[in-house]
């Protein structure tokens, strides 16, 4: 281990070190406020540490122990994870303060989950891939079940655990078969010589890994319990699951597809096309039927990951720079929008016993709390991909990548999916502008820090939608430096 190894891994070291300090701190004084403070400090220091690590990263990334590879893309994703974790911590404080006896462990789990996400995003080897994924998942099980006195979180955690463990097993089996066929576990070395007689293992292995990833991204037809998990988990954690855990897998997907070129096998390619189309159509169709905002967002996120897969699928037909740019922009936009969405669900239920998640609970929100309603409107429009919001820029890029890659079938699916999507996003908006029901009460007083966080996210949605140039320039420079 050289000194520059340390500098490159410094963000991760800071995060894990922060976890330990937090543990020690909690064991000395159990104060919720202190735990939050230490967590935020660890997250921010880790973000700052990226600045140091960037100095040591060369073109094409920096190889750590043959297990991780850190390049500009990873730094970008890490920044998003840390942003997601920070927002989650801010939302979690008032939420858990009001309803859980011991809140401090949540922050430890939040930090380990984020560290896991960073490992997954940087993984270039099966060992680091599965370890990162498990660190992330195991922290998430406990985070979902965190308010253990109530029913929905526990049930959601049990379901998520089974779902995620099946996915992990599938991925592990895929890895094992691939290893049997190729004799290596480093992504970059995984290739099948054409005369090899072990093609069937290899393809089966790749298929299993794809299935596992599809599970983790909850793509159709591997989406069964996703809505239940989204609904049952506390809104703060749902936001985290929907963003950080999926973002990490997407980052991994980029590295994996790029280094193994798995999409050049026809069978795998068409299977992924099927999954993408099915996610776009089925996700949107099922979202139509929902009356629960969390479930609606769950199906909508299924559809959005289907859209994102379009960019991944054209990797061999469009310019790689454009593909990577599209994915990064889409993920960034998706992070901001989703965090804002669950932030609002969380905000409106800070002082309720159950999460405030029925669509009807939002009736007349426009007249009761114009600020929150405006932000939620921006969120809905962004999810629908309407201009003025960052969601449009993201969708525009997907269209551009699809057109450049001449993936017309996928573009049609995207069009149909978006058309269906408009229905339920508009219904959400319409619910908010309806007249206030006689029985509806004004919202209880809500914490300032969460309102500020949600407002910042809402402003980001609009500002980056109207003037995306800074974001695009940043992403472009990352893409150029990563040598994709």
């Amino acid at each position: 281990m050289t000194l520059s190894d340390l500098w490159v891994s410094f963000p991760l070291v800071v995060l894990v070190g922060g976890t330990l300090i937090l543990m020690i701190g909690v064991s000395i004084v159990r104060t919720h406020r202190l735990a939050l403070g230490l967590t935020l400090l660890a997250l921010i220091l880790s973000l700052a540490a990226h600045d140091i690590s960037l100095d040591h990263i060369t073109e094409g990334g920096y190889e750590l122990f043959g297990l991780l590879n850190v390049s500009g893309v990873q730094v970008f994703f890490n920044a998003l994870f840390l942003l997601g974790a920070t927002v989650t911590a801010l939302f979690a404080y008032p939420y858990f303060d009001a309803r859980v006896e011991r809140c401090e462990e949540f922050y430890i789990l939040l930090l380990t989950a984020t560290a896991g996400a960073m490992v997954v995003a940087a993984a270039t080897h099966f060992a680091s891939f599965i370890l990162g994924l498990e660190i992330l998942s195991i922290s998430l099980y406990a985070m979902i079940a965190y308010p253990r006195q109530s029913h929905p979180p526990l049930e959601a955690a049990a379901k998520y655990l089974v779902l995620s463990a099946v996915a992990s097993s599938a991925i592990l089996m895929g890895m094992a078969l691939t290893y049997t066929a190729t004799g290596t576990m480093a992504f970059a070395e995984i290739t099948l010589s054409p005369e090899s007689g072990e093609r069937s293992y290899f393809l089966l292995g790749q298929a299993l890994i794809c299935v596992g990833i599809a599970f983790k991204l909850s793509l159709v037809p591997f989406h069964m319990w996703t809505p239940d998990v989204y609904q049952g988990a506390p809104a703060v954690v749902t936001g985290y699951v929907a963003t950080v855990s999926k973002g990490a897998v997407i980052a991994l997907l980029i590295t994996y597809v790029q280094s193994t070129d798995v999409l050049s096998y026809d069978g795998v390619f068409y299977a992924v096309v099927f999954v993408a189309v099915a996610s776009m159509i089925v996700g949107n169709l099922l979202a139509l039927l929902q009356t629960n905002v969390k479930r609606l967002l769950a199906y909508s996120s299924i559809a959005h990951l289907g859209y994102l897969l379009i960019a991944v699928l054209v990797v061999n037909t469009a310019r790689p720079e454009l593909v990577l740019e599209t994915i990064l922009l889409y993920v960034a936009a998706y992070f901001i929008i989703t965090l804002a969405a669950f932030g609002i669900v969380n905000l409106t239920s800070e002082h309720e016993t159950e999460d405030n998640e029925q669509l009807e609970a939002y009736a007349g929100l426009f007249w009761r709390n114009p600020l929150l309603a405006s932000i939620l409107t921006a969120v809905a429009l962004a999810l629908a991909g309407i201009p003025l919001t960052v969601g449009f820029i993201a969708k525009f890029y997907v269209f551009a990548a699809g057109v450049e890659g001449t993936a017309w079938a996928l573009i049609w699916a995207l069009l149909i999916g978006s058309a269906i999507g408009v229905f339920y996003y508009l219904r959400l908006i319409y619910t908010m502008v309806k007249e206030v029901q006689p029985g509806a009460t004004a919202l209880p007083r809500i914490g300032t820090q969460s309102v500020v966080a949600v407002t910042v996210l809402g402003l980001l949605i609009v500002v980056l939608g109207v003037y995306p140039t800074p974001m695009i320039d940043m992403v472009r420079s990352i893409v150029q430096s990563s040598g994709f």
């Binding site: 007249w367 429009l381 201009p387 003025l388 450049e404 069009l415 978006s418 408009v422 319409y430 140039t469």
Partner: protein, 487 residues
């Protein structure tokens, strides 16, 4: 740059109107009114300032926006744009006045939406960057959606949803076509640009050109609207509040016609020519179908809505006649229809405010109680029917002349449409204002000064266009010349 300031001015006024409501519930409408009056004067000043003799543009503005994709804020105003911007600002004044006493809930947000729709529409009329154009094209939907969904009538949710869905989905088709066009240009030249002027030079092969043309065409005829994508219009117009109907019929529909003239035809000239017959046929079908449906309505507003479909058919016919007369006719029809239909929707709004119904069976004999209303309705019905001396006549006559040169049978059928228009127009008049008065009509109030002054503006405009259309024709002529189409 001045045109960008005009747009920003309206947007800013919208924000102010929205925020000021807390302190003073009456202030928003005054702010909105003054904003539109200033905008109208502003537009007039641009007109008087005259066009740059070299380029033919009155004002231009360029601002870097997303350089990474070759997207700029590129705004240019030529004669055609100027006429339509003028129509927009004047109708803005009219819309505000027409809803002066109708809106009682959240007036600030109402005016905000009106101002933002108008700003978006002005943006559509002067964007010379396809991305910017699409941006404005979609942005104007959102406030319009709110106008219908919040202040609309009984079926507002359904109508607003349908309106949004139709325009959004067809807009996405256009977005794909825009991107495909840009990327074809990129493949040829190695430059990514969304600039209209650059993209005019793209060479397209037959099928690709036709497909991309269809993407634009479908988006525009959905907005226009033409059969078979017209079904959103009767619902949206009927359910919208008065100001919403005025804006929808007066301006939003015109963006479809404008788009055809500005984008579909020049960008895909060859494909459009091949497609001209189908387009004209669709136009004629719209004329006849709209007229027939209008005649069979019992709802005042719905009747006017269907008549709009018929009038918009003329625009389609005129544009795709591919000659100067047809195009000029289409443009004049756009302006004249803007005024005449807006007036009729206002009338429907006034009647609903007084009688709480739009059903013509509940009316009858209103002339006796409200002679001024009757006279106004009479005037605008006649204008709408195409009475010589008024704007609509000029437009439709020119369209028919233009179409006659190209396709005689279709022209004949379109002319039948004018006769149908007379039938439903007069039937509207008869069922609502003539005949025996209904009991509840007894207490009806006639128009006051506020209403009459607004109608006066529109009467002047229509008579002006009808008697001396040369102003409009002159303004639009350089645009048509610049299209470079051998008309």
């Amino acid at each position: 740059m001045t045109i960008l300031y005009l747009i920003l001015f309206l947007l800013g006024a919208g924000l102010v109107a929205c925020l000021v409501e807390r302190t003073n519930a009456n202030a928003p409408r005054w702010i909105s009114l003054f904003a539109f009056i200033i905008a109208t004067i502003w537009t007039g000043a641009i007109w008087l300032g005259g066009a740059d003799p070299e380029t033919g543009f009155y004002v231009t503005g360029e601002l870097s926006w997303i350089p990474a994709l070759g997207i700029n804020v590129l705004l240019k105003v030529d004669g055609l744009s100027l006429v339509l911007i003028g129509l927009t600002t004047i109708l803005g004044v009219i819309a505000v006045v027409s809803s002066w006493s109708e809106i009682n809930v959240s007036r600030g947000f109402f005016q905000f939406n009106i101002l933002w729709v108008m700003a978006g529409v002005i943006g559509v009329f002067c964007a010379y960057d396809l991305f910017l154009f699409f941006f404005f094209w979609e942005v104007m939907l959102i406030p319009m959606y709110f106008l219908i969904a919040i202040w609309g009538h009984e079926d507002r949710s359904y109508a607003a949803m349908k309106f949004f869905l139709f325009t959004q989905v067809s807009g996405l088709l256009m977005l794909v076509a825009i991107i495909a066009l840009v990327w074809i240009n990129y493949a040829n030249t190695g430059v990514i640009t969304f600039s209209y002027d650059e993209l005019l030079n793209v060479e397209l092969s037959g099928t690709v050109g036709s497909l991309l043309m269809l993407g634009f065409f479908i988006a525009f005829i959905t907005k226009l609207p033409s059969v078979p994508v017209h079904t959103w219009l009767p619902d949206a117009h009927t359910q919208a509040p008065t100001a919403g109907s005025v804006i929808l019929a007066g301006i939003l529909l015109k963006t479809g016609g404008y788009g055809l003239i500005r984008f579909t035809v020049p960008l895909f000239e060859e494909a459009s020519r091949d497609f001209a017959f189908v387009a004209m046929l669709l136009g004629v079908i719209s004329i006849l179908y709209g007229g027939y449906m209008a005649y069979s309505q019992s709802d005042f507003k719905r009747l006017v809505a269907y008549s709009s479909i018929a009038h918009m058919g003329f625009i389609l016919v005129g544009v795709y006649a591919f000659n100067e007369l047809g195009m000029q006719g289409a443009i004049v029809t756009m302006i004249a229809h803007g005024f005449s239909t807006a007036a009729l929707f206002m009338m429907a709004g006034s009647l609903q405010e007084r009688l709480h119904t739009r059903e013509m069976s509940q009316m009858g004999g209103l002339w006796v109680k409200a002679p001024r209303m009757g006279a106004m309705t009479m005037f605008f019905v006649i204008a709408s029917v195409g009475m010589p001396g008024l704007g609509n006549f000029i437009g439709e006559f020119l369209v028919l002349l233009g179409a006659f040169k190209v396709n005689v049978p279709l022209t004949v059928l379109a002319t039948v449409g004018i006769v149908v228009a007379a039938v439903y127009g007069l039937s509207l008049m008869q069922r609502s204002f003539q005949g025996t008065p209904n009991a509840q009509v007894a207490t009806m109030q006639d128009f006051g000064f506020r209403e009459m002054s607004v109608y006066a503006i529109m009467i002047v405009a229509l008579v002006w266009i009808g008697i001396y259309p040369q102003h409009v024709l002159d303004l639009a002529q350089p645009t048509l010349d610049a299209l470079g189409i051998a008309l």
